[in-house]
Symmetry: C2
């Protein structure tokens, strides 16, 4: 049987390509990394800089600059936390939220197209498997230990 690595290598490479083309909004375009940042800010409840950087395994200093870019693009806003002024909390602007939605729906329609090449049963099995895999990774010591 083919080894695991080959299967995953191909899968993630392809998903990466999907992700690359995902990120055109109404008028502006953003990078894959930026789309992940928007995604996580949307998902986590008023996160701090550190939280998102950790989740995405991005160096904080790099992340700091990425946020600066996203703020300039008017997609993200950053405000000092009231109880501890060392922290900054991140939120999406309306524009950022729209962009996140736009990426979300592009990705979902891409994935629906991909899934359309499988029958109902296969689709179910695949989704269940991805969940199993995500859970296994969450338990793993070699992967993603401090991550959500």
């Amino acid at each position: 049987m083919e080894n695991k690595r080959e299967l995953f290598q191909i899968l993630t490479r392809r998903f990466g390509i999907l992700n690359k083309n995902c990120c055109a909004g109404d008028d502006i375009e953003i990078s894959t990394v930026h789309s992940h940042i928007l995604y996580e800010i949307d998902k986590q409840h008023i996160p701090t800089m550190q939280q998102i950087a950790d989740t995405l395994a991005i160096d904080v200093t790099t992340f700091s600059r990425q946020i600066q870019t996203l703020i300039k693009m008017n997609l993200v806003s950053k405000s000092p936390s009231s109880d501890d002024k060392r922290f900054y909390v991140l939120t999406l602007t309306n524009e950022g939220h729209n962009m996140a939605q736009s990426v979300e729906s592009s990705m979902n329609s891409y994935l629906n197209e991909v899934f359309s090449h499988m029958n109902e049963f296969e689709q179910e099995t695949v989704l269940r498997s991805i969940k199993l895999l995500n859970n296994a990774m969450a338990k793993s010591s070699v992967c993603c230990t401090p991550l959500i």
Copy 2:
């Protein structure tokens, strides 16, 4: 049910993190992109520059420079094709082959660890699902059309 995108987002992000830590050989360390290049040169039979660049969806000009780096690191060698001198064919050096092996075994042991958190049946199901998914992606019009 959670949407597909979320499941895939998390999966591929985690796999990306695995990949990041994968690439330490005996003494030198390489980037994820470089490890993918070595992987593909090893897999494809005496490929040309263009072939690998296309497979990995990397811009050829960027790829040209990446190969230059890998040659300097003595992991790859490049020679003009005898029948058509516009082409250059790529091969791994012994050192490059060792590196590819080393990455391969790191990745497989990471993945084995991840899989150890599932039972036999789940493991089978997951592997079968990844294959299904790869086939579906290969048929897809939105993903990876010119790719293997």
